[in-house]
């Protein structure tokens, strides 16, 4: 038996005994996948207004879509605000365009104009959703 044949025989024996593995069974290089974020950019054109340090003496307005018991929750909010801030001025939701009707509802430029005209310093919107 030549030297090469001896080595081949030894390799075969070790492979059978599981001491040596074949190349295909050796550990593979890890696979790395890099994916794009699918959500995309967006543009912020407006930021939230600064808060009011104290509600006493301020004009707080209400806007309503007339849904989800808003006609019960707003009066409660009004009474609680009035109790905690005695000099607060509240302009109720029915003084503004309200509801979901396209021409006359809350989602309308007329509502925004009315908020400005009435001197609102903060607005509570409800009951959204």
């Amino acid at each position: 038996m030549t030297r090469i044949a001896k080595w081949l025989a030894l390799a075969l024996l070790l492979a059978v005994l599981g001491v040596v593995t074949t190349p295909s069974a050796t550990a593979q290089a890890p696979v790395t996948l890099t994916l794009y974020d699918p959500t995309g950019a967006f543009e912020v054109t407006q930021t939230f207004a600064p808060r009011l340090p104290d509600l006493n003496g301020k004009t707080i307005c209400e806007l309503s879509n007339d849904s989800w018991e808003a006609k019960r929750t707003f009066p409660l909010i009004e009474s609680l605000l009035q109790k905690q801030f005695p000099t607060i001025k509240i302009i109720s939701w029915d003084q503004f365009p309200h509801g979901n009707i396209a021409e006359t509802g809350i989602d309308n430029d007329k509502a925004a104009t009315a908020v400005k005209q009435k001197g609102c310093q903060a607005v509570i919107v409800g009951n959204a959703g």
Partner: protein
């Protein structure tokens, strides 16, 4: 300061995003328990949490204080010992980020997205519009990412781009032309209503990309994969760019067909004589022009047993499906323009052929007949009829209109390398199917 119901915080954030605020930061908000909706309910939760309303008006501080573009996040990187393991990990990560539709997606790697982008001559950074309610910017690149995730191919991209152009259209209402309506995506993508988009493709592009107009149209089909993939892409765009995650940004109570929406081609080869295609009769395009039309529906009314030689009976079934109450309104709707939503009638080729052969109807005659019996539109021309569904005549479908503003159509722009893309598709997928 916003008062809303439990679970609607992201809906409110999205609504503010529609006004230009950051969708990543909600306005100050008090979410009251859902059962407070019941008339006469206990309002004590509002009383107990009144301090939240006061805090929202006085001490709350926004995190985002500057205007400008906010770019998408970092790329997602995952590793695995093998490719399947890496893909599994990837899908787990994407599911946790709420970026899948519940099924595994194809990795949107740079290489795959670059391949998809060979389907357009537009630059990747070009904005196609914003998708509501989140108002994410749908660039060509972002749309290609969604198409890659859905398992798409470059030859689908021109259709997806045209669909996004239609869905981001906020033109005047009522629209003056077929291409400038208000599709109102920020509304129907967020609503509780069960409404979903239908995409109708006219022109030779439909057959070239293997979009079905035959058996099983709108359903899964290995010979015609385009509908499922394009529809899924639209879904991913609406969810990821538009923010329409169920129960978070989209409050649809039931959402049938939203997995892949409804994407279909008109069976233009099956149209009878004097029967123009939908894009010609209703949308103002020329014969042979490639166009997509998007409209919103909210249901599928099967019209069963519309068999050949039973033309009158079949028409009766159609009318029953369109107007189940049988009560024809005394006054038809006021809106007279062609973009008015008014439902969609789908009929396989032998049905209109029968009406043509037996009753001598052309398309205008059928529109007139339906209009006189239902008055669901202002005028007969507004009745939407598309021939699709294969060679038979036994069934038709009426899709009632869903929440939305307008029907919007867009032309399909093919890239310069179109012939190469179609040849490559034939190599990859085999010859075009017979039908």
């Amino acid at each position: 300061m916003v008062v809303t119901r439990q679970g609607f915080s992201q809906v409110v954030a999205n609504a503010f995003a529609g006004l230009g605020f950051s969708p990543t930061e909600s306005p100050t908000m008090y979410e009251f328990p859902l059962n407070m909706f019941i008339p006469g309910s206990d309002l004590s939760p509002l009383r107990e949490h009144f301090d939240q309303i006061v805090a929202g008006l006085t001490t709350w501080k926004p995190k985002i204080t500057k205007t400008g573009i906010i770019e998408p996040g970092e790329n997602v990187v995952v590793s695995g010992a093998t490719y399947p393991e890496a893909v599994d990990k990837l899908n787990n990560v994407l599911a946790q980020k709420l970026w899948t539709d519940g099924l595994p997606v194809t990795p949107a790697t740079a290489e795959r997205v670059k391949w998809i982008l060979t389907g357009t001559d537009l630059p990747p950074s070009q904005s196609l519009g914003t998708i509501g309610p989140r108002m994410g910017i749908a660039t060509v690149q972002q749309v290609a990412i969604s198409l890659a995730m859905a398992g798409g191919r470059p030859e689908y991209l021109p259709i997806v781009i045209a669909v996004v152009q239609a869905m981001t259209s906020t033109g005047p209402t009522p629209g003056k032309t077929a291409t400038d309506g208000d599709f109102y995506t920020q509304g129907w993508n967020a609503t509780t209503q069960n409404t979903w988009p239908v995409v109708i493709v006219n022109g030779p592009v439909a057959k070239q990309i293997r979009l079905s107009s035959g058996y099983g149209v709108m359903g899964p089909d290995p010979q015609h994969p385009a509908a499922a993939v394009i529809g899924r892409t639209i879904r991913l765009i609406l969810q990821n760019i538009g923010g329409g995650v169920p129960g978070i940004g989209s409050m649809k109570i039931h959402a049938p067909a939203m997995q892949t929406n409804m994407v279909l081609a008109e069976d233009e080869e099956g149209l009878p004589a004097n029967w123009p295609s939908y894009s010609v009769s209703n949308r103002g395009f020329k014969p042979g022009e490639n166009a997509v039309t998007c409209l919103m529906v909210n249901g599928v009314n099967l019209i069963n047993n519309t068999n050949r030689d039973l033309a009158d009976e079949s028409l009766g079934l159609v009318i029953n499906a369109i107007l189940p109450s049988g009560k024809v309104p005394a006054t038809p709707p006021a809106r007279a323009d062609m973009n008015n939503l008014s439902g969609l009638l789908l009929m396989p080729r032998l049905f209109p052929q029968t009406l043509h052969d037996v009753k001598g109807f052309d398309k205008a005659a059928l529109q007139q007949f339906i209009w006189e019996k239902t008055k669901i539109t202002n005028n007969p021309k507004q009745i939407n009829i598309v021939c699709t569904g294969g060679e038979q005549s036994g069934m038709a479908v009426w899709l009632p209109n869903g929440m939305g503003n307008d029907i919007v159509s867009k032309p399909v722009a093919l890239p310069k390398n179109w012939d190469q893309l179609i040849k490559q598709a034939e190599k990859d997928l085999g010859p075009l199917p017979a039908w």
